[in-house]
Protein backbone atom coordinates (compact mmCIF):
# COMPACT_ATOMS: atom_id res chain seq x y z
CA UNK A 1 0.00 0.00 0.00
CA UNK A 2 1.51 3.28 -1.11
CA UNK A 3 0.36 6.24 0.87
CA UNK A 4 0.74 9.73 -0.53
CA UNK A 5 2.07 11.23 2.68
CA UNK A 6 2.36 14.71 1.19
CA UNK A 7 -1.25 14.69 0.04
CA UNK A 8 -2.54 13.43 3.38
CA UNK A 9 -0.42 16.00 5.22
CA UNK A 10 -1.88 18.72 3.03
CA UNK A 11 -5.41 17.60 3.84
CA UNK A 12 -4.54 17.57 7.54
CA UNK A 13 -2.74 20.92 7.33
CA UNK A 14 0.47 19.43 8.65
CA UNK A 15 3.91 20.23 7.38
CA UNK A 16 6.19 17.22 7.09
CA UNK A 17 9.84 18.21 6.77
CA UNK A 18 11.85 16.41 4.08
CA UNK A 19 14.03 14.96 6.83
CA UNK A 20 10.98 13.42 8.56
CA UNK A 21 9.34 12.10 5.43
CA UNK A 22 11.02 8.73 5.13
CA UNK A 23 10.45 7.79 8.77
CA UNK A 24 6.89 9.01 8.64
CA UNK A 25 6.23 7.04 5.50
CA UNK A 26 7.62 3.87 7.03
CA UNK A 27 5.66 4.27 10.26
CA UNK A 28 2.46 4.98 8.38
CA UNK A 29 3.05 1.95 6.20
CA UNK A 30 3.54 -0.21 9.29
CA UNK A 31 0.43 1.13 10.97
CA UNK A 32 -1.70 0.76 7.87
CA UNK A 33 -0.25 -2.72 7.44
CA UNK A 34 -1.34 -3.56 10.96
CA UNK A 35 -4.94 -2.46 10.40
CA UNK A 36 -5.21 -4.23 7.07
CA UNK A 37 -5.93 -7.59 8.68
CA UNK A 38 -9.63 -6.82 8.86
CA UNK A 39 -11.95 -9.33 7.21
CA UNK A 40 -14.38 -8.22 4.53
CA UNK A 41 -17.86 -7.56 5.78
CA UNK A 42 -20.42 -6.92 3.11
CA UNK A 43 -22.91 -4.80 4.94
CA UNK A 44 -24.10 -1.25 4.82
CA UNK A 45 -23.25 1.35 7.42
CA UNK A 46 -26.77 2.56 8.13
CA UNK A 47 -27.77 4.87 10.98
CA UNK A 48 -28.68 2.80 14.02
CA UNK A 49 -32.35 3.30 15.00
CA UNK A 50 -31.62 1.68 18.36
CA UNK A 51 -29.64 4.70 19.54
CA UNK A 52 -32.17 7.52 19.12
CA UNK A 53 -31.22 10.97 20.26
CA UNK A 54 -33.37 13.30 22.34
CA UNK A 55 -33.44 16.71 20.75
CA UNK A 56 -33.04 20.05 22.47
CA UNK A 57 -36.00 22.36 22.94
CA UNK A 58 -35.69 25.49 20.81
CA UNK A 59 -35.17 28.03 23.56
CA UNK A 60 -32.61 30.80 23.28
CA UNK A 61 -30.51 31.50 26.35
CA UNK A 62 -28.82 34.79 27.09
CA UNK A 63 -25.09 34.40 26.64
CA UNK A 64 -23.34 33.57 29.90
CA UNK A 65 -19.94 34.55 28.52
CA UNK A 66 -18.56 37.93 27.62
CA UNK A 67 -16.76 38.34 24.36
CA UNK A 68 -13.58 39.09 26.32
CA UNK A 69 -13.84 35.80 28.24
CA UNK A 70 -14.30 33.85 25.02
CA UNK A 71 -11.51 35.64 23.18
CA UNK A 72 -8.88 35.82 25.88
CA UNK A 73 -7.15 32.66 24.64
CA UNK A 74 -6.99 33.92 21.05
CA UNK A 75 -3.52 34.59 19.62
CA UNK A 76 -4.65 37.78 17.89
CA UNK A 77 -7.77 39.92 18.44
CA UNK A 78 -8.73 43.24 16.89
CA UNK A 79 -11.97 45.24 17.24
CA UNK A 80 -13.70 42.30 18.90
CA UNK A 81 -12.74 39.94 16.06
CA UNK A 82 -10.24 37.15 15.61
CA UNK A 83 -7.43 38.11 13.28
CA UNK A 84 -6.18 35.80 10.53
CA UNK A 85 -3.93 36.28 7.51
CA UNK A 86 -5.91 37.79 4.64
CA UNK A 87 -8.14 35.18 2.99
CA UNK A 88 -8.87 36.78 -0.42
CA UNK A 89 -6.56 38.55 -2.83
Amino acid sequence: MDIDIRHIAKLARLEIADSELAQFEQQMKNIVGMVENMPDISDELKPDPNTPMRLREDKAQANKFTREELMKNAPSVKAGCLVVPKTVE
Binding site: M53, R56, A60, Q61, N63, L70, L82, V83, V84, K86
Partner: protein, 478 residues
Protein backbone atom coordinates in the same frame (compact mmCIF):
# COMPACT_ATOMS: atom_id res chain seq x y z
CA UNK B 1 -32.25 27.07 -26.02
CA UNK B 2 -29.52 29.65 -26.25
CA UNK B 3 -27.70 30.03 -29.57
CA UNK B 4 -28.60 26.48 -30.52
CA UNK B 5 -27.57 24.97 -27.16
CA UNK B 6 -29.72 23.38 -24.51
CA UNK B 7 -28.98 24.56 -21.00
CA UNK B 8 -29.05 22.34 -17.90
CA UNK B 9 -29.15 24.01 -14.49
CA UNK B 10 -29.29 22.57 -10.99
CA UNK B 11 -29.42 24.65 -7.84
CA UNK B 12 -28.27 24.07 -4.27
CA UNK B 13 -30.22 26.55 -2.19
CA UNK B 14 -29.35 27.35 1.42
CA UNK B 15 -32.04 28.87 3.59
CA UNK B 16 -31.47 30.06 7.15
CA UNK B 17 -34.20 28.82 9.45
CA UNK B 18 -35.89 31.32 11.75
CA UNK B 19 -35.64 29.36 14.98
CA UNK B 20 -35.16 31.08 18.34
CA UNK B 21 -31.85 29.38 19.11
CA UNK B 22 -28.99 28.10 16.98
CA UNK B 23 -28.87 24.55 15.62
CA UNK B 24 -26.37 23.03 18.09
CA UNK B 25 -26.36 25.42 21.04
CA UNK B 26 -28.75 27.73 22.87
CA UNK B 27 -27.28 30.98 21.57
CA UNK B 28 -29.95 33.31 20.18
CA UNK B 29 -30.39 33.02 16.41
CA UNK B 30 -30.31 36.72 15.59
CA UNK B 31 -28.86 38.81 12.83
CA UNK B 32 -26.94 42.03 12.71
CA UNK B 33 -25.68 42.42 16.23
CA UNK B 34 -22.28 43.50 17.45
CA UNK B 35 -19.47 41.22 16.21
CA UNK B 36 -18.87 38.06 18.26
CA UNK B 37 -21.66 38.89 20.69
CA UNK B 38 -23.95 35.92 19.87
CA UNK B 39 -21.31 33.30 20.57
CA UNK B 40 -20.74 30.68 23.27
CA UNK B 41 -18.05 28.03 23.81
CA UNK B 42 -20.08 25.54 21.72
CA UNK B 43 -20.54 27.57 18.54
CA UNK B 44 -17.03 28.96 18.98
CA UNK B 45 -15.75 25.37 18.85
CA UNK B 46 -13.88 25.49 22.15
CA UNK B 47 -12.11 22.27 23.13
CA UNK B 48 -14.42 19.83 24.91
CA UNK B 49 -17.69 21.38 23.81
CA UNK B 50 -20.43 19.27 22.27
CA UNK B 51 -23.41 19.89 19.97
CA UNK B 52 -27.04 19.30 20.92
CA UNK B 53 -29.54 19.29 18.05
CA UNK B 54 -32.43 21.80 18.10
CA UNK B 55 -35.73 19.92 17.56
CA UNK B 56 -37.27 22.88 15.69
CA UNK B 57 -34.64 22.55 13.00
CA UNK B 58 -35.74 18.99 12.35
CA UNK B 59 -39.40 20.01 12.33
CA UNK B 60 -38.83 22.91 9.94
CA UNK B 61 -36.80 20.79 7.55
CA UNK B 62 -39.50 18.09 7.56
CA UNK B 63 -42.13 20.75 6.81
CA UNK B 64 -40.13 21.93 3.83
CA UNK B 65 -39.75 18.30 2.83
CA UNK B 66 -43.52 17.86 2.87
CA UNK B 67 -44.00 21.12 0.98
CA UNK B 68 -41.63 19.87 -1.71
CA UNK B 69 -43.29 16.42 -1.84
CA UNK B 70 -40.25 14.63 -0.44
CA UNK B 71 -39.90 11.28 1.25
CA UNK B 72 -39.04 11.94 4.89
CA UNK B 73 -36.38 9.58 6.28
CA UNK B 74 -37.57 8.67 9.77
CA UNK B 75 -34.08 7.44 10.65
CA UNK B 76 -31.17 9.62 9.63
CA UNK B 77 -27.91 10.95 10.97
CA UNK B 78 -25.53 13.85 10.87
CA UNK B 79 -22.07 13.83 9.36
CA UNK B 80 -18.97 15.96 9.60
CA UNK B 81 -17.71 17.79 6.53
CA UNK B 82 -14.06 18.50 7.22
CA UNK B 83 -12.21 21.52 5.86
CA UNK B 84 -10.07 24.31 7.22
CA UNK B 85 -11.26 27.89 6.97
CA UNK B 86 -11.23 30.68 9.53
CA UNK B 87 -15.02 31.09 9.48
CA UNK B 88 -15.45 27.43 10.51
CA UNK B 89 -14.27 27.22 14.14
CA UNK B 90 -14.37 23.43 14.55
CA UNK B 91 -12.77 22.97 11.12
CA UNK B 92 -15.75 20.81 10.25
CA UNK B 93 -19.33 21.62 9.42
CA UNK B 94 -21.98 19.38 10.92
CA UNK B 95 -24.15 18.48 7.96
CA UNK B 96 -25.77 15.39 6.45
CA UNK B 97 -24.08 13.24 3.84
CA UNK B 98 -25.51 9.96 2.58
CA UNK B 99 -28.79 9.97 4.52
CA UNK B 100 -30.53 13.37 4.36
CA UNK B 101 -33.69 14.11 6.32
CA UNK B 102 -35.77 14.52 3.13
CA UNK B 103 -35.27 13.27 -0.43
CA UNK B 104 -36.87 12.48 -3.79
CA UNK B 105 -39.37 15.33 -4.03
CA UNK B 106 -40.48 17.87 -6.57
CA UNK B 107 -41.92 21.34 -6.87
CA UNK B 108 -44.28 22.63 -9.56
CA UNK B 109 -43.49 26.05 -10.94
CA UNK B 110 -45.41 28.13 -13.47
CA UNK B 111 -43.37 29.08 -16.52
CA UNK B 112 -45.15 31.03 -19.29
CA UNK B 113 -48.50 29.76 -18.10
CA UNK B 114 -47.31 26.14 -18.16
CA UNK B 115 -46.67 23.98 -15.13
CA UNK B 116 -43.08 22.68 -14.94
CA UNK B 117 -42.17 20.00 -12.43
CA UNK B 118 -38.67 20.46 -10.96
CA UNK B 119 -37.17 17.49 -9.12
CA UNK B 120 -35.87 17.94 -5.58
CA UNK B 121 -32.98 15.56 -4.93
CA UNK B 122 -32.75 16.16 -1.20
CA UNK B 123 -33.12 18.54 1.71
CA UNK B 124 -30.67 18.30 4.58
CA UNK B 125 -29.94 20.23 7.76
CA UNK B 126 -26.60 21.81 8.60
CA UNK B 127 -24.95 24.70 10.41
CA UNK B 128 -23.96 28.03 8.91
CA UNK B 129 -20.38 29.34 9.14
CA UNK B 130 -19.19 32.69 10.48
CA UNK B 131 -18.22 35.72 8.46
CA UNK B 132 -14.91 37.12 7.34
CA UNK B 133 -14.47 40.86 7.20
CA UNK B 134 -12.04 42.36 4.71
CA UNK B 135 -10.66 45.84 4.39
CA UNK B 136 -7.54 47.44 3.00
CA UNK B 137 -7.16 48.98 6.43
CA UNK B 138 -6.56 45.58 8.09
CA UNK B 139 -2.89 45.41 7.00
CA UNK B 140 -3.01 42.15 5.13
CA UNK B 141 -5.31 40.54 7.67
CA UNK B 142 -8.93 39.45 7.69
CA UNK B 143 -11.17 39.62 10.74
CA UNK B 144 -13.45 36.82 11.87
CA UNK B 145 -16.94 37.33 13.29
CA UNK B 146 -18.47 34.10 14.57
CA UNK B 147 -22.03 35.35 15.25
CA UNK B 148 -23.45 33.40 12.32
CA UNK B 149 -21.76 30.13 13.31
CA UNK B 150 -24.43 27.59 14.14
CA UNK B 151 -27.31 29.43 12.51
CA UNK B 152 -29.50 26.58 11.24
CA UNK B 153 -29.64 25.99 7.51
CA UNK B 154 -31.50 23.69 5.20
CA UNK B 155 -29.87 22.91 1.90
CA UNK B 156 -32.36 22.20 -0.88
CA UNK B 157 -30.74 20.42 -3.82
CA UNK B 158 -32.66 20.42 -7.10
CA UNK B 159 -32.35 17.95 -9.92
CA UNK B 160 -30.71 19.46 -13.04
CA UNK B 161 -34.19 20.16 -14.41
CA UNK B 162 -34.00 23.91 -15.00
CA UNK B 163 -33.48 25.09 -18.57
CA UNK B 164 -32.82 28.81 -18.34
CA UNK B 165 -31.91 31.58 -15.94
CA UNK B 166 -35.53 32.73 -16.10
CA UNK B 167 -36.70 29.29 -14.93
CA UNK B 168 -34.07 29.29 -12.22
CA UNK B 169 -35.38 32.61 -10.99
CA UNK B 170 -38.98 31.38 -10.94
CA UNK B 171 -37.84 28.25 -9.09
CA UNK B 172 -35.99 30.35 -6.50
CA UNK B 173 -38.94 32.68 -6.07
CA UNK B 174 -41.24 29.70 -5.65
CA UNK B 175 -38.95 28.27 -2.94
CA UNK B 176 -38.84 31.66 -1.27
CA UNK B 177 -42.60 32.05 -1.17
CA UNK B 178 -42.98 28.49 0.18
CA UNK B 179 -40.41 29.17 2.93
CA UNK B 180 -42.32 32.32 3.83
CA UNK B 181 -45.64 30.49 3.83
CA UNK B 182 -44.29 27.85 6.16
CA UNK B 183 -42.90 30.66 8.31
CA UNK B 184 -39.58 28.87 8.66
CA UNK B 185 -37.28 31.46 7.06
CA UNK B 186 -37.14 35.26 7.16
CA UNK B 187 -36.24 35.32 3.46
CA UNK B 188 -34.35 38.57 3.88
CA UNK B 189 -32.12 38.47 0.86
CA UNK B 190 -29.89 41.37 1.87
CA UNK B 191 -29.13 39.52 5.10
CA UNK B 192 -28.19 36.45 3.13
CA UNK B 193 -30.94 34.29 4.56
CA UNK B 194 -31.29 32.55 1.17
CA UNK B 195 -28.17 31.84 -0.87
CA UNK B 196 -27.41 29.40 -3.64
CA UNK B 197 -24.75 27.52 -5.53
CA UNK B 198 -25.44 27.06 -9.23
CA UNK B 199 -24.49 24.12 -11.45
CA UNK B 200 -24.60 24.85 -15.18
CA UNK B 201 -23.82 22.90 -18.35
CA UNK B 202 -24.74 23.29 -22.01
CA UNK B 203 -25.05 20.81 -24.87
CA UNK B 204 -26.36 20.62 -28.43
CA UNK B 205 -29.83 19.03 -28.73
CA UNK B 206 -29.59 15.27 -29.04
CA UNK B 207 -26.04 15.20 -27.72
CA UNK B 208 -24.95 14.01 -24.28
CA UNK B 209 -24.88 16.44 -21.36
CA UNK B 210 -21.98 18.86 -21.27
CA UNK B 211 -19.39 19.23 -18.53
CA UNK B 212 -20.82 21.20 -15.65
CA UNK B 213 -19.32 23.95 -13.57
CA UNK B 214 -20.33 24.92 -10.07
CA UNK B 215 -20.63 28.57 -9.17
CA UNK B 216 -20.51 29.81 -5.60
CA UNK B 217 -21.14 33.15 -3.90
CA UNK B 218 -24.49 33.79 -5.57
CA UNK B 219 -26.26 35.91 -3.02
CA UNK B 220 -29.43 37.15 -4.68
CA UNK B 221 -31.94 35.92 -7.23
CA UNK B 222 -30.95 38.63 -9.68
CA UNK B 223 -27.31 37.68 -9.18
CA UNK B 224 -28.33 34.09 -9.95
CA UNK B 225 -29.82 35.24 -13.27
CA UNK B 226 -26.74 37.28 -14.15
CA UNK B 227 -24.36 34.55 -13.04
CA UNK B 228 -26.19 31.82 -14.95
CA UNK B 229 -26.40 33.91 -18.13
CA UNK B 230 -22.73 34.75 -17.84
CA UNK B 231 -21.82 31.11 -17.38
CA UNK B 232 -24.04 29.92 -20.26
CA UNK B 233 -22.43 32.44 -22.59
CA UNK B 234 -18.97 31.67 -21.35
CA UNK B 235 -19.44 27.94 -21.96
CA UNK B 236 -21.01 28.44 -25.40
CA UNK B 237 -18.24 30.80 -26.47
CA UNK B 238 -15.67 28.27 -25.30
CA UNK B 239 -17.34 25.46 -27.24
CA UNK B 240 -17.91 27.57 -30.33
CA UNK B 241 -14.24 28.47 -30.33
CA UNK B 242 -13.45 24.76 -30.38
CA UNK B 243 -12.54 24.60 -26.70
CA UNK B 244 -13.87 22.43 -23.92
CA UNK B 245 -15.51 23.25 -20.62
CA UNK B 246 -13.49 22.11 -17.58
CA UNK B 247 -15.18 20.75 -14.50
CA UNK B 248 -14.41 23.32 -11.84
CA UNK B 249 -15.76 25.46 -9.08
CA UNK B 250 -16.10 29.13 -9.97
CA UNK B 251 -16.76 32.18 -7.89
CA UNK B 252 -19.34 34.75 -9.01
CA UNK B 253 -18.41 38.41 -8.60
CA UNK B 254 -21.69 40.25 -8.94
CA UNK B 255 -20.13 43.72 -8.84
CA UNK B 256 -17.83 42.99 -11.78
CA UNK B 257 -20.39 40.71 -13.42
CA UNK B 258 -17.86 37.94 -14.01
CA UNK B 259 -17.04 34.52 -12.56
CA UNK B 260 -13.51 33.35 -11.90
CA UNK B 261 -12.11 29.88 -11.35
CA UNK B 262 -11.77 28.93 -7.67
CA UNK B 263 -10.46 25.41 -8.02
CA UNK B 264 -10.35 22.69 -10.62
CA UNK B 265 -11.65 19.14 -10.29
CA UNK B 266 -8.15 17.92 -9.52
CA UNK B 267 -7.97 20.29 -6.56
CA UNK B 268 -11.48 19.32 -5.51
CA UNK B 269 -11.75 19.39 -1.77
CA UNK B 270 -11.74 16.04 -0.04
CA UNK B 271 -14.20 16.69 2.76
CA UNK B 272 -13.67 13.33 4.43
CA UNK B 273 -17.31 13.02 5.49
CA UNK B 274 -17.96 10.61 8.35
CA UNK B 275 -20.81 10.17 10.85
CA UNK B 276 -20.82 12.86 13.56
CA UNK B 277 -19.87 10.85 16.68
CA UNK B 278 -21.09 13.54 19.08
CA UNK B 279 -24.68 13.02 17.98
CA UNK B 280 -26.78 9.86 18.00
CA UNK B 281 -29.33 8.85 15.39
CA UNK B 282 -32.13 11.24 14.47
CA UNK B 283 -35.26 9.12 14.81
CA UNK B 284 -38.52 10.86 13.97
CA UNK B 285 -41.70 9.05 14.92
CA UNK B 286 -44.15 8.49 12.03
CA UNK B 287 -46.83 10.31 14.05
CA UNK B 288 -44.67 13.39 14.22
CA UNK B 289 -43.98 13.29 10.50
CA UNK B 290 -47.71 13.01 9.86
CA UNK B 291 -48.56 15.80 12.30
CA UNK B 292 -46.10 18.11 10.55
CA UNK B 293 -47.73 17.29 7.24
CA UNK B 294 -51.08 18.35 8.69
CA UNK B 295 -49.61 21.76 9.36
CA UNK B 296 -48.74 22.43 5.74
CA UNK B 297 -51.18 25.00 4.30
CA UNK B 298 -52.09 25.31 0.62
CA UNK B 299 -48.81 26.52 -0.82
CA UNK B 300 -48.29 29.62 -2.95
CA UNK B 301 -47.42 27.78 -6.13
CA UNK B 302 -50.65 25.78 -5.84
CA UNK B 303 -52.57 28.97 -5.08
CA UNK B 304 -51.03 30.72 -8.06
CA UNK B 305 -52.16 27.97 -10.39
CA UNK B 306 -55.65 27.97 -8.86
CA UNK B 307 -56.00 31.74 -9.18
CA UNK B 308 -54.95 31.72 -12.79
CA UNK B 309 -56.83 28.63 -13.85
CA UNK B 310 -60.03 28.87 -11.79
CA UNK B 311 -60.49 32.59 -11.45
CA UNK B 312 -58.93 33.81 -14.68
CA UNK B 313 -56.83 36.29 -12.78
CA UNK B 314 -53.78 37.69 -14.56
CA UNK B 315 -50.51 35.91 -13.90
CA UNK B 316 -49.01 39.11 -12.56
CA UNK B 317 -51.76 39.72 -10.01
CA UNK B 318 -52.03 36.07 -9.08
CA UNK B 319 -48.27 35.82 -8.52
CA UNK B 320 -48.25 38.94 -6.46
CA UNK B 321 -51.07 37.87 -4.19
CA UNK B 322 -50.10 34.21 -3.89
CA UNK B 323 -46.59 35.07 -2.77
CA UNK B 324 -47.86 37.00 0.21
CA UNK B 325 -49.27 34.94 3.06
CA UNK B 326 -51.43 37.85 4.24
CA UNK B 327 -52.74 39.00 0.89
CA UNK B 328 -53.51 35.45 -0.19
CA UNK B 329 -55.28 34.73 3.10
CA UNK B 330 -57.42 37.84 2.64
CA UNK B 331 -58.19 37.01 -0.96
CA UNK B 332 -59.00 33.36 -0.21
CA UNK B 333 -61.38 34.34 2.57
CA UNK B 334 -63.12 36.81 0.26
CA UNK B 335 -63.60 34.23 -2.47
CA UNK B 336 -64.78 31.61 0.00
CA UNK B 337 -67.31 33.76 1.86
CA UNK B 338 -68.26 36.41 -0.68
CA UNK B 339 -70.31 36.15 -3.82
CA UNK B 340 -68.50 38.91 -5.70
CA UNK B 341 -66.22 38.32 -8.65
CA UNK B 342 -62.70 37.19 -7.58
CA UNK B 343 -61.34 39.76 -10.01
CA UNK B 344 -63.12 42.52 -8.03
CA UNK B 345 -61.53 41.40 -4.75
CA UNK B 346 -58.09 41.05 -6.21
CA UNK B 347 -58.14 44.46 -7.86
CA UNK B 348 -58.84 46.12 -4.48
CA UNK B 349 -56.07 44.05 -2.92
CA UNK B 350 -53.34 44.64 -5.49
CA UNK B 351 -54.48 48.23 -6.04
CA UNK B 352 -55.46 50.47 -3.17
CA UNK B 353 -54.50 48.09 -0.36
CA UNK B 354 -50.98 47.24 -1.52
CA UNK B 355 -50.25 50.87 -2.42
CA UNK B 356 -51.25 51.93 1.09
CA UNK B 357 -49.25 49.15 2.76
CA UNK B 358 -46.20 50.01 0.68
CA UNK B 359 -46.54 53.74 1.36
CA UNK B 360 -47.02 53.39 5.10
CA UNK B 361 -45.04 50.23 5.81
CA UNK B 362 -48.05 48.91 7.70
CA UNK B 363 -49.50 45.42 7.61
CA UNK B 364 -53.10 44.45 6.88
CA UNK B 365 -53.70 43.94 10.57
CA UNK B 366 -52.91 47.63 11.16
CA UNK B 367 -55.87 48.60 8.96
CA UNK B 368 -59.58 47.87 9.35
CA UNK B 369 -59.60 45.96 6.09
CA UNK B 370 -60.91 42.45 6.62
CA UNK B 371 -62.41 39.92 4.26
CA UNK B 372 -65.89 40.74 5.60
CA UNK B 373 -65.37 44.45 4.91
CA UNK B 374 -64.02 43.86 1.44
CA UNK B 375 -66.91 41.51 0.61
CA UNK B 376 -69.41 44.14 1.79
CA UNK B 377 -67.65 46.89 -0.15
CA UNK B 378 -67.71 44.91 -3.38
CA UNK B 379 -71.34 44.09 -2.72
CA UNK B 380 -72.46 47.74 -2.26
CA UNK B 381 -70.63 48.66 -5.45
CA UNK B 382 -72.09 45.71 -7.33
CA UNK B 383 -75.65 46.56 -6.23
CA UNK B 384 -74.99 50.17 -7.13
CA UNK B 385 -75.51 51.52 -3.63
CA UNK B 386 -72.35 53.48 -4.20
CA UNK B 387 -70.22 54.15 -7.23
CA UNK B 388 -66.79 52.76 -7.81
CA UNK B 389 -65.38 56.22 -7.03
CA UNK B 390 -67.39 56.23 -3.80
CA UNK B 391 -65.98 52.81 -3.06
CA UNK B 392 -62.47 54.22 -3.19
CA UNK B 393 -63.41 56.83 -0.60
CA UNK B 394 -64.88 54.17 1.68
CA UNK B 395 -61.77 52.04 1.26
CA UNK B 396 -59.55 54.99 2.12
CA UNK B 397 -61.42 55.43 5.40
CA UNK B 398 -61.19 51.74 6.23
CA UNK B 399 -57.44 51.87 5.80
CA UNK B 400 -57.25 54.32 8.69
CA UNK B 401 -60.23 53.56 10.95
CA UNK B 402 -62.61 50.77 11.76
CA UNK B 403 -66.18 51.89 11.04
CA UNK B 404 -69.24 50.14 9.61
CA UNK B 405 -69.34 50.68 5.84
CA UNK B 406 -72.89 51.97 5.89
CA UNK B 407 -71.87 54.67 8.39
CA UNK B 408 -69.01 55.76 6.14
CA UNK B 409 -71.34 55.88 3.15
CA UNK B 410 -73.83 58.04 4.96
CA UNK B 411 -71.23 60.26 6.59
CA UNK B 412 -69.58 60.93 3.26
CA UNK B 413 -72.97 61.11 1.51
CA UNK B 414 -71.94 58.56 -1.03
CA UNK B 415 -75.24 56.75 -1.58
CA UNK B 416 -76.02 56.68 -5.27
CA UNK B 417 -79.31 58.14 -6.43
CA UNK B 418 -81.14 55.43 -8.33
CA UNK B 419 -84.61 56.97 -8.03
CA UNK B 420 -85.79 57.45 -11.66
CA UNK B 421 -87.98 60.41 -10.81
CA UNK B 422 -85.09 62.29 -9.21
CA UNK B 423 -82.78 61.46 -12.09
CA UNK B 424 -85.36 62.57 -14.70
CA UNK B 425 -85.62 65.90 -12.94
CA UNK B 426 -81.88 66.40 -13.05
CA UNK B 427 -81.82 65.39 -16.73
CA UNK B 428 -84.50 67.89 -17.64
CA UNK B 429 -82.62 70.71 -15.91
CA UNK B 430 -79.31 69.84 -17.56
CA UNK B 431 -80.82 69.47 -21.04
CA UNK B 432 -82.54 72.80 -20.67
CA UNK B 433 -79.31 74.50 -19.68
CA UNK B 434 -77.25 72.93 -22.50
CA UNK B 435 -79.18 73.47 -25.67
CA UNK B 436 -76.05 73.63 -27.81
CA UNK B 437 -74.92 70.17 -26.77
CA UNK B 438 -78.39 68.79 -27.37
CA UNK B 439 -78.31 70.25 -30.87
CA UNK B 440 -74.78 68.88 -31.43
CA UNK B 441 -75.90 65.42 -30.38
CA UNK B 442 -78.87 65.49 -32.69
CA UNK B 443 -76.54 66.57 -35.50
CA UNK B 444 -74.53 63.39 -34.97
CA UNK B 445 -71.88 64.48 -32.51
CA UNK B 446 -72.39 61.50 -30.25
CA UNK B 447 -69.66 62.49 -27.84
CA UNK B 448 -71.95 65.25 -26.65
CA UNK B 449 -73.77 62.49 -24.74
CA UNK B 450 -70.83 61.93 -22.45
CA UNK B 451 -70.67 65.63 -21.75
CA UNK B 452 -74.33 65.78 -20.83
CA UNK B 453 -74.12 62.74 -18.56
CA UNK B 454 -71.11 64.31 -16.91
CA UNK B 455 -73.06 67.51 -16.29
CA UNK B 456 -75.84 65.45 -14.71
CA UNK B 457 -73.35 63.68 -12.44
CA UNK B 458 -71.93 67.04 -11.46
CA UNK B 459 -75.41 68.41 -10.75
CA UNK B 460 -76.05 65.37 -8.54
CA UNK B 461 -72.76 65.90 -6.73
CA UNK B 462 -71.65 62.55 -8.07
CA UNK B 463 -74.40 60.60 -6.39
CA UNK B 464 -76.43 59.80 -9.46
CA UNK B 465 -76.20 56.22 -10.62
CA UNK B 466 -74.16 56.80 -13.77
CA UNK B 467 -75.62 53.90 -15.74
CA UNK B 468 -79.22 54.91 -15.09
CA UNK B 469 -78.37 58.55 -15.79
CA UNK B 470 -76.96 57.66 -19.19
CA UNK B 471 -80.04 55.60 -20.05
CA UNK B 472 -82.40 58.44 -19.15
CA UNK B 473 -80.49 61.06 -21.17
CA UNK B 474 -80.31 58.78 -24.18
CA UNK B 475 -84.04 58.17 -24.01
CA UNK B 476 -84.84 61.84 -23.70
CA UNK B 477 -82.66 62.76 -26.69
CA UNK B 478 -84.05 60.12 -29.00
Amino acid sequence: MVKGYEVVIGLETHAELSTDSKIYCSCPNRFGLEVNSQVCPVCMGMPGTLPTLNEKVVDYAIKMGHALNCTINPVCKQDRKNYFYPDLPKAYQISQADVPLCENGYVDILVDGQTRRIGITRIHIEEDAGKLLHSDKFNGASLVDLNRCGVPLIEIVSEPDLKSSAEAKIYLETLKSILKYLDICDCKMQEGSIRCDVNVSVHKPGEPLGTRTEMKNVNSFSAAVRGIDYEINRQIELLEAGGTVTQETRRWDDVKGVSTSMRSKEDAQDYRYFPEPDLLTIVVEPERIAALKEQIPELPNAKLMRYVKEYGITLKEATFVSESVELAALFDECTQKGSGAPKSYISWIVGDLVKYLNDTGKSIADTAITADKLIELVKVIDDKTISNAGGKKVFAVLLEEDKPIKDIISQLGLSQVSDAAVLEKIADEVLAANEKSVTDYKNGKTNALGYLVGQCMKASKGKANPGMMRDIITKKLS
